[in-house]
Amino acid sequence: MSPNARSNGTANAPAPAAKAAKPAAAAGAKPAAKPKLAIFGAASCGGCDIAIVNIHEHIVDVAAAFDIVLWPTVMDGKYADIEAMADDEITITLVSGSMRTDETVHLARLLRRKSQFMVSFGSCASEGCIPGLANLSSRKQIIDTAFTTSSTDNPDGIRPIWEYEVPEGVLHLPEFEPVLRTLDQVVDVDYTIPGCPPESKQIWAALEAVVKALNGTGPLPPKGSVLGAGESTVCDECPRKRDVKKIDRFVRIQQVASFDPEICLLEQGLPCNGPATRNGCGALCPAVAAPCIGCYGAAEGVVDYGARLMSAYASVIEATKPEEIDKVLDGIPDPVGQFYRFSLAGSLLRSGRPAWQNDAE
């Protein structure tokens, strides 16, 4: 609140505060001394919040280390309270979910202003995730799909009304933006924790690193770091054997009765996204014969996830004639879904054409 709160808002400032927090928590007094934590879900499924709670008893450590000021999924909190805070008053904000409406964009900007560290938490915030696939369609197509397709029970053809007058005043629905954005396309982001959702043990590892840094017992990760994940690919962690590195067909998982338990799934023709995906999950999916779908996002140094994966697939296809190659590629009926399932909004092209083209013109 006070003007000097802003000047205190530096990376070093929380350290003494965090030190003071330990005895304060034990005595159950002076909770204001703790660093503040906000957890906000934008356009997301809530899975990230569940993953956070899944750190089990460590959640008590989180509560001991931080004063949780906002976490709508778990506890009551008012946006007005956040607005009333001084700039940089919140130490860390975790944002899960992508930027779909002007409301989420507004709150992301508000939280950025009030926070010293902004963490892009999970795939939606970092690269758009499944909601980002809506970027293949225009707003009109999206709303139509939701309200007027044959599978929707909407006999009166009810459609969203963005502004509605009631005796008390005018009600507004948040504006549905034309293109879904990732958090870092809207605000400056300090750290990224990838995953859909992030593995709980990785969440704790990341939070612990930050807590240690605030206590002065560990280094603060450099800005822009990816926390709670590896620096290599899922293939690196995968127990399966890769020797042939040649494929002459792609199959869908339902077309094959069983897969060899020891050989690389991609070599067996199952499109597996391991070669482009960041490790850190423990290669849980390929270990049980489910192909990697890429939820941990792009591996270190990869600019465009789909481009890296297309490059990897094309390298191992065993065909040299255009028609033979086409036959193999027919095994991937939905290339955007395969290569950009989690990363379309964060990719170089960001969307499909219908999302931005004005057909009426």
Partner: protein, 201 residues
């Protein structure tokens, strides 16, 4: 754009109708064949349209799909990939990799709404200067016919200040009627991209 028209009678090439539209084409050549072909075309004074900006790679197999996507995202109207004829690669078989990447990437960008004609592959040996020049001319005319791409990847995210209400009304909004045509988001977006795209030309 229309608001600025009376103020600035500045040169507006490219903003004009399709007849004078000059496409920006990024061309990737391989060091051993197609770049030499382009070189030969120059030595022989064979003309080809200046729309193509050639970038030399050691091999067409070096072409990372990222390069292509980046070109489209940053204002290219088309991307042309060239390399040694199949079976004649200096690195034995890497142009086959280029071919497979090309075919796979073509499927992906088509699904994203980029016409296949904007991404083409041409083989040219070091002796085929005239052939390469002709192919560049053909691709240029095909892309000219397609018109500007103006992919808004860098700009569409800057939607603040855009009147979303008006944009929504323009799409038929909440009239409650079933739609006839898809799309129709915001006329400002295509226009918003134009200045950057024009500057690139």
């Amino acid at each position: 754009m229309s608001a600025q028209a009376p103020v600035a009678p500045a040169p507006v090439e490219g903003a004009a109708p399709a007849a004078t539209f000059e496409p920006v084409i990024i061309g990737f050549t391989c060091n051993w064949c197609s770049y030499r072909a382009a070189d030969l075309a120059g030595t022989a004074r064979t003309k080809y349209p200046p729309n193509v900006r050639l970038i030399r790679l050691m091999c067409s197999g070096r072409l990372d799909p990222t390069f292509v996507l980046k070109a489209f995202a940053e204002g290219a109207d088309a991307v042309l990939v060239t390399g040694c004829h199949p079976g004649e690669c200096h690195y034995i078989e890497q142009n086959y990799k280029a071919l497979r990447r090309f075919q796979l990437l073509q499927r992906t960008i088509e699904a994203l709404g980029i016409e296949p004609g904007r991404f083409q592959l041409v083989w040219a040996s070091a002796a085929e200067g005239v052939r390469l020049a002709n192919e560049i001319a053909r691709v240029t005319e095909e892309v000219r016919a397609l018109g500007p791409l103006n992919w808004p990847a860098g700009d569409i995210v800057d939607i603040d200040g855009v009147d979303l209400d008006a944009a929504w009304e323009a799409t038929g909004g909440d009239a409650g009627e079933p739609p006839e045509t898809p799309g129709g988001v915001n006329p400002d977006h295509a226009a918003a991209k134009l200045p950057a795209a024009e500057a690139a030309r």
